[in-house]
């Protein structure tokens, strides 16, 4: 069936199956930042923004974003490049399979709060699993990123 939506600001029309998940449709169209880690809406690696709200793309049907705005890491490249600098500073990227999903959630966090508390940062990050780092370095990187320019 026809799906019309705005992918990173561009009006697109795709053919999707009625039972196709958004993660699959995006990857099928070369949006490789979608890393499917669990396919059961837990790990957070496939997080995208739908109308600016974080959503697990492995668990929503593609057709449900009809007419909506979907943002992936491909749409906020400059911002992610900057964020990754802080991850690099703290050694917070190891396998980075969680990295794109993490970038999206941090983008959403920044929109939600001007000066988030540690607890608010953790509340945002808690749904994004990282099996490599122990989170401490990521947490420090995120705090430094958010503090930049303040």
């Amino acid at each position: 069936m026809k799906l019309q939506f705005f992918l990173n600001g561009t009006d697109v029309v795709w053919d999707v199956r009625p039972d196709e998940y958004l993660s699959n449709a995006l990857r099928r169209h070369g949006i490789f930042s979608i890393r499917v880690g669990c396919d059961e809406s837990i790990c957070g690696s496939c997080t995208v923004l739908v109308d600016e709200k974080p959503v697990l793309s492995c668990s929503v049907l593609a057709i449900t974003v009809n007419g909506k705005h979907v943002t992936t890491v491909e749409g906020i490249q400059e911002e992610v490049a900057r964020l990754s600098h802080f991850f690099g500073e703290e050694g917070a990227n190891q396998c980075s399979y969680c990295g794109s999903g993490m970038a999206i959630i941090i983008h959403a966090l920044k929109k939600e709060y001007k000066n988030p508390t540690d607890e608010q940062i953790r509340d945002f990050m808690v749904g994004n699993i990282c099996r490599c780092t122990g989170y401490h370095s990521q947490f420090k990187a995120i705090k430094a990123y958010l503090a930049e320019g303040k």
């Binding site: 880690g37 669990c38 992610v80 980075s96 099996r131």
Partner: protein, 772 residues
């Protein structure tokens, strides 16, 4: 500490940014569009024989290209362990077999033009099983009437106690001195036993691989593997193909932790692509990663430790049983590490004994997992040491300091026990364990906080500690190599076999080369782990990368520097010894040439040749990294719930080549080990079905699990390591079970002797204690 410019300095991961920005870098991203999709029919029975299998309806389904069963694949036993040769694991697996040995074992593989058709085809396969009685408890598996591997054609590459008719995958015994005699002489003897569970690796990228035939009609497989060269060798042997016809490429890997040392879908995509000529792809579902790949070996370990009144430990007696599940991947080698990378911590004993069996059961197979036996052994030994301290009325920190390994010392165990075979004697050229113990105690505030403080009506704070060691590769076994070419434009192309699975080996090898060639990391272009293009390396396991692959890179870079000086001397018509090279310019008296000009002249004018060097490294010792760990916990005495307020690690891994990545290895290991210690409960039902087969039921740590991590490194220099480095990939995971167990005991007086340590177990033990 020696002064370095690139190593031991902050360097960002060389791939971290591109990965985060969403580039196509992982195995799945390299799949040929339109590849056949592979799906596996898996056993619903813990143990059964396939009486009849009819795939005709599935094969007739439009879009199905190939169905594999045990009837149409080569019947050659192999080990999926992904180890060197001769393989130290039982050769006990067939690609597909008439028997299925755990719920989730492979029955038939379907390749179809899309996922839906493949799934539909699975439902059309008719299987008639003869259901057999499974063995679900490794403690009673020995000589059970139910034999898990009754089949012909399985073997061991050398004597490892493999007795399949008794359900024994491997066994091992060793003794130094006379343990019974020494224990009899001791003033104090404590006995302790505890059990560990089948932890899941839970790497975020599921196991995945894909295949295609290239322009030479060769088989090319992209795989999320830790061991590309071993995969090529074992695949060629098993499929009866020339090695030259296979290429294994490892792109960026989304975590491994040992779980991707073993084979996963490689044999299946290979067979499908060879048979159909079409590209194919196999991606495990998360449930398959949990229930149909590999786990940590569950173990039951008992210890007896004897000491004199003054706290001198005289003897350690350790006996272990290990559950390897349905197949014997890493059965022997993980088992031996329980002894060889744990017991030498207390090297002043007069006698030490270690032994036991690894048993087959009808559970998910166990395999390599970060820590590799050491975490199991450490949990039991380091709990027992605390028990001994209590009995001796000694501070557990003091008892450890008194008896543990120090610099220039050794342990007889090193010579006796290797990984599967005899070991290698070695002296600890670098061991800052005493410093680590002191510094950790200071950072956690041991003196003020031990053993406990009441901080609320039902809240108690306490501290716990443990020490650990690991290794740096397997001596005389693990080999790594590296090749460097000078490119026109004056930069270096580095090809190496070291396998980056997210731990950052590409970054630290770039740093090692840059340091030696006095340049910057951006002038070092690295390409790794492609069996066509990179020289051999065993792969990412046994904490071998920094030490073995790092030494190979260092040797190669030294050779390149010598070669450059020789080329410059010829070009400047001076003697080599007169040349001073600073990484950018070669100077001799008033003559000079830049590296940039030299590299261009070498290629485009005289003498027009490619400057290329290659070197290999094989370890002669395996210098252990050491650490001391402390945690402060707060326990709620009404509910048994607890919280970790801080986890302090002080680590001696020699020079940290990349301090931030080394810290990442330690902190990531701590958190993963803490998951095993606290929340990662593994539950099988009475039929042998793994119930904790999803992130929903299997709880890995989140960013809220540990409030704070404090990680420091000791000032240490390992003379045999690259720029003084030892490996650091596994050491972090070893301590959390013991540290948590000891801290909980110090808080509420109950010792939890099975993992994970849950609030439920704590509360139950507290109630039982009160009732007594």
């Amino acid at each position: 500490m020696k002064k370095f410019k690139v190593v031991n300095n902050k360097t960002h991961s060389v791939c971290g940014q591109a990965e985060m920005m969403g580039r196509a870098v992982y195995t799945q991203d390299y799949e040929v569009p339109g590849s056949l999709v592979l799906k596996m029919l898996r056993s619903p029975h813990a143990f059964a024989r396939i009486k009849k299998i009819d795939t005709s309806k599935a094969e007739a389904l439009n879009g199905v290209k190939c169905v594999l069963t045990y009837k149409n694949v080569p019947h050659v036993a192999f080990s999926r362990a992904g180890q060197g040769a001769p393989q130290p694991s039982p050769i006990d697996k067939f690609i597909l077999d008439e028997y299925v040995r755990f719920i989730g074992d492979e029955v038939a593989c379907v390749a179809a033009i899309n996922e839906q058709i493949a799934e539909d085809a699975l439902k059309l396969i008719e299987v008639e099983y003869e259901v057999l009685e499974p063995v679900l408890d490794y403690k009673t598996a020995y000589k059970s009437k139910n034999v898990i591997h009754p089949e012909e054609g399985i073997s061991q590459a050398f004597e490892m106690g493999f007795r399949p008719k008794d359900n024994v995958a491997a066994s091992y015994e060793m003794e130094v001195g006379d343990v019974e005699k020494e224990l009899a002489k001791c003033d104090v003897v404590i006995e302790h036993a505890a059990e560990t569970q089948a932890q899941a690796h839970a790497m975020l990228e599921p196991h995945t691989c894909n295949a295609r035939l290239d322009e030479h009609n060769r088989l090319v497989i992209y795989s999320s593997t830790q061991t590309p060269f071993h995969v090529r060798r074992i695949m060629a042997q098993t499929l009866g193909m020339p090695l030259s016809q296979i290429r294994i490429v490892k792109p960026r890997v989304g975590g491994g932790f040992g779980g991707k040392q073993q084979f996963h879908g490689e044999m299946f995509v290979a067979l499908v692509t060879l048979r159909t000529g079409l590209p194919s792809s196999m991606i495990y579902t998360r449930e398959e990663v949990f229930a149909s790949s590999y786990t940590r070996h569950p173990m039951y370990i008992s210890m007896k430790i004897g000491a004199d009144k003054d706290g001198t430990i005289r003897a350690i007696d350790c006996h272990a049983l290990s559950d390897t599940g349905a197949y014997g991947e890493h059965a022997l080698t993980v088992f031996m590490i329980v002894g060889s990378k744990v017991l030498p911590l207390y090297n002043k004993v007069k006698a030490v004994r270690f032994g036991g069996r690894v048993l087959y059961t009808n559970h998910v197979p166990a395999g390599a997992y970060r820590g590799y036996g050491a975490i199991q052994g450490n949990y039991v030994l380091e709990s027992a040491i605390d028990m001994l301290a209590e009995k001796l009325h000694m501070d557990p920190v003091e008892l450890r300091k008194k008896n543990s390994m120090k610099e220039k010392e050794t342990s007889p165990i090193f010579e006796i026990m290797g990984e599967g075979t005899k070991g290698t004697a070695m002296i600890m050229e670098s061991c800052k364990l005493p410093y680590c113990i002191d510094r950790g105690a200071e950072l956690i505030g041991w003196k003020e906080k031990y053993p406990r403080k009441q901080v609320g009506p039902h809240k108690v704070r306490s501290v716990g500690c443990a020490i650990a060691m690991q290794g740096s590769g397997i001596p005389f076994s693990d080999m790594g190599s590296c090749a460097i070419t000078l490119q026109d434009g004056g930069f270096y192309m580095v090809r190496c076999g070291a396998t980056d699975i997210g731990q950052g080996s590409d970054t630290l090898i770039s740093q090692i080369v840059a340091e030696e060639l006095m340049t910057t990391v951006d002038k070092v272009i690295i390409y790794s782990s492609d069996t066509d293009l990179a020289p051999f390396d065993v792969g990412a396991y046994a904490s071998s990368t920094t030490y073995i692959s790092g030494n190979a890179a260092w040797k190669t870079a030294i050779k390149m520097r010598e070669r450059l000086i020789s080329e410059a001397a010829t070009m400047l018509e001076v003697k080599e010894k007169d040349i001073i090279f600073d990484g950018k310019t070669f100077k001799a008296g008033n003559k000079e040439i830049s590296l940039f000009d030299l590299s261009n002249k070498l290629i485009y004018s005289a003498p027009q040749h490619q400057v290329a060097v290659t070197e290999s490294y094989i370890g002669h010792v395996s210098p252990p990294p050491f650490m001391a760990a402390y945690a402060e916990v707060e326990v709620d005495t009404e509910t048994g719930e607890y919280e970790v307020l801080d986890y302090v690690s002080v680590v001696d891994c020699g020079t940290t080549i990349n301090p931030m990545l080394a810290k990442g290895q330690v902190e990531g290991g701590i958190t993963q080990g803490f998951g095993m210690a606290s929340t990662e409960e593994v539950i099988y039902n009475s039929k042998g079905q793994l119930l904790t087969n999803s992130f929903l039921y299997y709880h890995v740590p989140t960013c809220k699990t540990i409030k704070h991590l404090t990680t420091e490194f000791a000032d240490s220099y390992e003379p045999t390591g690259p720029f003084g480095a030892k490996s650091v990939g596994e050491i972090g995971i070893d301590t959390p079970p013991a540290v948590l167990c000891n801290a909980i005991y110090n808080a509420v007086g109950v010792r939890i002797n099975s993992l994970p340590i849950t609030p439920e177990k704590i509360l139950k033990a507290m109630k039982e204690k009160e009732g007594k």
